[in-house]
Amino acid sequence: MIKRLPIFAVASLVMVVSACSPRQGAVADDPFERLNRSSHAFNKGLDRNILSPLSKTYTDVVPDPVEDSVSNFARNLSLPGKVVNNVLQLDLSSAARNTARFALNSTVGLAGLFDPSQKIGLVEKSTDFGETLQGWGVAEGAYLELPLFGPSNMRDGLARFVDMLFLDPAGQILKPPVSEYRSASTVGALLQTRQIYGAQIDEVLYGSADSYAQSRLVYLQSRRFELREIANDDYIDPYAEFE
């Protein structure tokens, strides 16, 4: 009960907040730009000084199959939380798919170190509480860049904390040392992801004239694409502008 109540408290808070800030098409709704820009400067420094070099060292030193197993382990333990969201979205076929994946990888895949599900085409249906809220009719609200977590928006930023605190069965069941292995593997997965998307991340952060504005655009457009909530005016009609 204690765990269930806050979800709705947070959900209604998100709805109140997002009702105050209507979506404005291609132009980012960014009333917190000053604050966001300082988070961005902090995040960029963190990437430049810690994440990026550490990711390089990690992927250079650790053999690829080990890297993959570390990431598989982390990803597998995030599946129960995704199943919870699939159910909240009444998407039972994805819930079944993610459950089957979790069962197979946790057993045949040796506690999730390997990914036999992938080989039989049982791919993950990724989701989160932000998508659940979207399904419940919550608009994305103002743009946010969160310290440590990076680009987000009111809805998905709050949803992220709901996912971590309340919708993560593995986090509530696991005890040390397994919970510690999990935390370590999550860091490993992050370092591997930083390496895989290295060229794109570097381009946005270090190759653009205004990395804050560019990462805001990249986040908003790819998130809307992911959640299929693209409005007609999200993209520019260049001919209409010069008619």
């Binding site: 291609a26 060229a199 653009s208 004239a209 205004d210 504005a213 560019q214 655009l217 990249v218 457009q221 790819s222 998130r223 809307r224 694409f225 992911e226 693209i230 993209y235 520019i236 009609d237 260049p238 001919y239 209409a240 502008e241 010069f242």
Partner: protein, 207 residues
């Protein structure tokens, strides 16, 4: 009746001559002049994708690839409108000569930038999957097939509003080239206090 008999003949020859001439001129200038519909839009992007695939498959150096991309962009993209839209409101108040020089510099910049990006695709290819009629334009959908990486969605927005059938935006996993360039060019222009001439000069070293 008597005078009207030779008239149609005269008109017919005139009309035929004009049709042939127009046909020749438009072939020479614009290439295909088919009215834009779903099929024509798909064929255009099929040819474009064929050229991109051939270019990334050719094993040519990055420098040569960029030159090839500049030609591909010139043939298939409405670089003129992309450049203007990227400049945003400043394009309205710019002097015509200033704008022309900027568009010319933008051509090289965009080819270098995306030529480099497509160079990362070496060993992969793009496959056209379908076309949607979106009212004022057609959206041709495609997916990439890359080694060691999950496929991703690419779409090309095609319009004939320039007088030719050309694409005006590429959207990769939801991220629009046009939107991204408007942010980039806008930031570059701001950093130069709105001076288009300085921006034009600096674009030569960017991308």
């Amino acid at each position: 009746m008597i005078i009207s008999t030779p008239m149609p003949n005269l008109n017919k020859t005139n009309l035929a001559r004009r049709t042939i001439l127009t046909g020749l001129v438009s072939c020479a200038l614009a290439g295909p002049v088919f009215a834009l519909d779903k099929r024509v839009a798909t064929q255009l992007i099929d040819r474009l994708v064929g050229e991109i695939n051939a270019a990334i498959d050719s094993g040519m150096s990055e420098t040569k690839l960029i030159g090839r991309f500049e030609r591909i962009f010139a043939d298939y993209a409405d670089v003129n409108i992309i450049a203007r839209a990227a400049l945003g409101p400043a394009a309205r108040s710019a002097e015509p000569a200033e704008l022309e020089a900027y568009v010319a510099a933008f051509r090289g910049y965009i080819a270098r930038k995306y030529g480099k990006r497509f160079h990362e695709f070496v060993g992969g290819k793009i496959i056209v999957t379908g076309t949607n009629d979106r009212g004022k334009f057609f959206e041709v959908m495609a997916v990439t097939e890359l080694r060691g990486s999950a496929p991703f969605d690419v779409s090309f927005r095609v319009s004939d509003r320039s007088g030719q059938n050309l694409f005006f935006d590429i959207i990769i996993e939801g991220i629009s080239l046009l939107s991204s360039e408007r942010v980039e060019i806008g930031a570059l222009l701001d950093a130069r206090k709105g001076n288009i001439a300085t921006l034009t000069r600096d674009l030569a070293d960017l991308g």
